[in-house]
């Protein structure tokens, strides 16, 4: 490799015993690792493993609760993104932070405009911007509006912005999740060039194989701890998965049930992308029977969320049909679908699942208000019964129904969101990443609850981006990619097979 010169193995930034807790939740528990000059250090880990927290600490968004960061061997305090930038550390977030209504030039120099005697010196900015783009060998006009660029090009603009402040450490959080294969190729070429210039890169990706092709060092996080750290030569895909997932934590097995008639039939369903171009769900067919548990595995942006939100009535399809118990739900509102027995547990519980201003009890009863309304008025006794039954059923640990929802841990909050939907006695429950951001114990409990309901005849569909969770309670595992189901497995498959099916064609 061309980068192997004298600077190899020089550590630029190292993390020593970094710990971070949010209230009672420990997101990071003493993480150590080094970033080497001119090399790519890749962070592997499942959702909730602590990757993004670690990145936020490195880039100054958050301060660690304990531990220290050494920059070139000297302890540094990174209190803000501005301080991080001054130290040469830049981060490119998964969600791009560009102003789409402004030009490439304005975005690159945002916040650090070059001032001339007559205000901003646009000509100089444009010249520097053009030089940067030439350096990146990208043909992007500095005067083009960012919103007119393709996503891959926007990523390049982010990189250009990071380079324009002479960053020598560049953190990339899931940079390829929205890119086409060709754009990924361009990005990887840029990464190689950056390495040659001595820029150190911290790379985060869910896409293991892709990430392996550019990694020089791998760091694996699991539940806030660093479980492994090794140079590229010593690792392979198996090693990563083993360290990411951990040794067989039991998330349950598929319940032995006889399937009933089809409960949910999705046929030829297409859902347009939120951005307006292309399809998030592409002519998809799916049948789920009563008592069956189906897991949908896929990378971010594969269309899982859109599929579920469309079935639940949050977004409307451009084509196709959703039938519940052989009845079309196309004309039904969300409330009517809940009454008919089709419910969704959304992916983002803070944004879509909980009402933070209400108590635990009122959150639990929110989806069944009609059931405890007698005439004009709500019946507090009937509500109390529903709440108590629900707290018991999903085993929420709380001081009582009157406790504020924010007093619960993430896992218990998730149980409230699930419990809220279960008390409506649905026939089909869709869960979008039900295990996101909750600890392994709560995860196991959520899966136990779902398996129990499936055994009683409920159809369960859950999505996940953690391959370990596919091989738990699901009878059937579907792999989704680009809005289509590309592979189907039964419970006796392997993690490797599922992962291989989800990946996109590898970069040459």
């Amino acid at each position: 490799m061309s980068t192997s010169d004298i600077t190899v193995d020089q550590v630029v930034l190292s993390a020593r015993n970094i710990a971070k807790s949010f209230g009672a939740v420990q997101a990071l528990k003493g993480v150590n690792f080094d970033i080497h000059r001119g090399q790519v250090t890749t962070l592997f880990g499942e959702n909730g493993a602590g990757k993004s927290t670690l990145m936020k600490i490195l880039s100054g968004v958050q301060l660690p609760s304990s531990g220290e960061l050494l920059l070139n061997g000297v302890p540094v305090h990174i209190g803000s993104t501005v301080e991080a930038r001054e130290l040469g550390i830049s981060i490119i977030h998964q969600e791009l932070s560009l102003a789409p209504n402004m030009t490439v030039r304005d975005n690159v120099f945002m916040g650090r405009e070059i001032m001339g005697p007559m205000g901003v010196n646009f000509a100089e900015e444009e010249r520097q911007c053009r030089a940067l783009m030439q350096e990146l060998e990208e043909d992007i006009d500095p005067l083009a509006l960012v919103e007119d660029l393709r996503l891959g090009q926007q990523q390049i603009v982010e990189i250009a912005r990071a380079l324009s402040v002479n960053s020598n450490i560049l953190i990339m959080d899931e940079p390829t999740s929205a890119l086409s294969a060709a754009e990924v190729e361009v990005l990887f070429k840029v990464i190689h060039d950056l390495k040659a210039k001595g820029v150190s890169i911290v790379y985060i990706s869910h896409h293991l194989e892709e990430a392996l092709t550019i990694s020089d060092h791998a760091v694996v996080l699991r539940d806030g701890q660093m479980t492994a750290y090794a140079p590229r030569a010593d690792i392979d895909l198996d090693w990563i998965v083993r360290n990411m997932v951990g040794e067989n934590f039991d998330l349950g097995t598929p319940p032995q049930t006889r399937f009933g008639p089809p409960a949910l039939v999705i046929s030829n369903l297409s859902v347009p992308m939120a951005s307006g171009t292309g399809l998030a769900v592409d002519q998809l067919d799916l049948t789920v029977h009563k008592g069956e548990i189906v897991c949908i595995y896929g990378l971010m942006g594969a269309g899982r969320t859109e599929l579920m939100e469309c079935a639940a009535g949050r977004i409307s399809p451009s084509a196709g049909d959703v039938r519940l118990n052989d009845r079309s739900v196309a004309q039904m509102s969300i409330a009517q679908r809940i009454d008919a027995g089709l419910v969704l547990v959304p992916e983002d519980r803070q944004r879509d699942g909980l009402v933070q201003t209400m108590t635990v009890g009122r959150n639990l009863s929110l989806a069944s208000i009609r059931r405890f309304t007698r005439g004009l008025f709500t019946h507090l006794g009937a509500e109390r019964q529903i709440i108590d039954a629900s707290i018991k059923e999903v085993t929420v640990k709380t001081d009582g129904p009157g406790a504020p929802i924010g007093s619960l841990s993430g896992g218990n909050q998730q149980k409230v969101v699930i419990g809220k939907m279960l008390v409506t006695h649905p026939d089909v429950i869709l869960l979008d990443e039900p295990s996101r951001g909750i600890d392994i114990g709560a995860k196991a409990e959520v899966f136990r609850i779902l398996a129990q309901h499936a055994a009683q005849g409920m159809a369960v569909v859950y999505s996940t981006s953690e391959v370990g969770e596919c091989l738990s309670i699901a009878h059937r595992i579907l792999v989704m990619r680009r809005g289509k189901i590309v592979a189907q497995f039964t419970h006796d498959t392997t993690k490797e097979a599922i992962m291989a099916a989800s990946g996109e064609s590898l970069v040459a």
Binding site: F22, G23, V25, A312, R314, S333, I334, A335, I338, D339, L344, P346, Q350, R351, D352, G353, L354, V355, Q356, T357, M358, R362, L366, A367, I369, R370, T373, L376, F377, T378, P404, G406, G410, K420
Partner: protein, 347 residues
């Protein structure tokens, strides 16, 4: 009161925290007590039953607007049009009381008072409905939509009277439309009817919020609209309804005010929307939606009303009243953010 807190904090930190907490949560109530105590000390005329009733009659107008405003603010919105709707509905009722001339038939209809009241309330609800539809279906920000209807309603009121005031609202016994001034002048068991109307509306609103599905929908959609929607709450219908209820409250206030004054002027109620918002905020509601109570809002309305009337009684210049009211509002919002900021620590 401050002294008590500090002396305790020295000795028993745990207990003083609780007292501070209690003072914080019941702040509108304690503020009202403090206002009454201070003004009773400053003026012998303040703490008399008759003065309290007079002041309450003033508060009734703001209180009615504030209750409607509370519903809107609970939903996470704002209704700037209530002052104008108050003016418009007052003028409209005055217009009806003068008799409606049917050009084609050549007759003048004098609707009885109850018809006037029903039509006026319907007008208020209609303006609110327009606001709600603009906001819920056409996605116009609440601030802008209701700012627009603030102007439109005021303009229509001015057009209807050509800028003049309807002075004769007492009706004529021969025409069978007397009794309009009953709302503003009469007393039942010594209590002005306006105050009784306020109490009834407040009770209805409290029941609506605490004991009906609609109330729960309102708190939920104000707290987190997306979560409420996914839980089957008809968020758009809730949104439109709260603006209708706010318009309805403004119309009730318009009727009470024009009855109190026995005249209906097109400029009545100018800037009252701000007082109503202030009352809601002083009453501890969160401008972000989802938090607030009717009792709090009533307390807020009384704090503002008793404060400004008290300042008049002790002879403070009306300019200073404005300064004081402003200071109270800012203080209240500051305390609100302390209360909710501490609790709702987000993760």
């Amino acid at each position: 009161m401050t002294d008590t807190t500090t002396s305790h904090s020295g000795a028993k930190p745990q207990r003083s925290f609780n007292i501070a907490q209690m003072l914080l949560e019941g702040r509108a109530f304690f503020a009202l007590i403090a206002i009454i105590l201070v003004f009773s000390y400053l003026s012998p005329n303040y703490a008399t039953v008759s003065n309290f009733l007079i002041m309450s009659n003033h508060v009734a107008i703001f209180g009615l607007l504030a209750i409607g405003m509370l519903l809107v603010i609970l939903n996470g919105g704002i209704d700037l049009s209530v002052g104008s709707v108050l003016g418009l509905t007052g003028v409209f009722s005055g217009y009806l009381m003068q008799g409606v001339q049917l050009e084609g038939a050549g007759v003048i209809l004098y609707p009885p008072v109850w018809v006037v009241i029903v039509l006026t309330l319907a007008l208020g609800a209609f303006v609110g409905f327009c606001n709600g539809v603009l906001i819920a279906w056409f996605k116009v920000p609440a601030f802008v939509a209701t700012l627009g209807s603030l102007y439109v309603a005021r303009g229509v009121a001015l057009l209807m009277t050509n800028g003049l005031t309807y002075n004769n609202l007492s009706g004529d016994a021969l025409l069978g439309n007397t009794g309009f001034d009953w709302l503003g002048f009469n007393r039942i068991a010594g209590v002005p009817v306006g105050v009784i109307v306020l109490v009834i509306v407040a009770l209805l609103a409290a029941i609506l919020l605490m004991r009906t599905a609609f109330g729960r929908w309102l708190y939920a959609s104000g707290g987190n609209e997306r979560a409420a929607e996914l839980s089957g709450v008809p968020v758009k219908r809730v949104q439109i309804t709260v603006y209708m209820l706010s318009g309805l409250c403004a119309a009730i206030a318009g009727l009470v005010l024009s009855s109190q004054l026995t005249s209906a002027g097109p400029t009545a109620g100018t800037t009252y929307e701000l007082t109503a918002i202030a009352a809601v905020v002083v009453g501890g509601a969160s401008m972000m939606g989802g938090r607030g109570t009717v009792q709090g809002t009533l307390l807020g309305a009384f704090v503002i009303g008793f404060l400004s009337d008290g300042l008049v009684i002790v002879g403070v210049s009306s300019y200073w009243q404005t300064v004081f009211t402003g200071a109270v509002i800012v203080l209240a919002v500051m305390l609100n953010s302390i209360q909710y900021g501490g609790k709702g620590a987000r993760r």
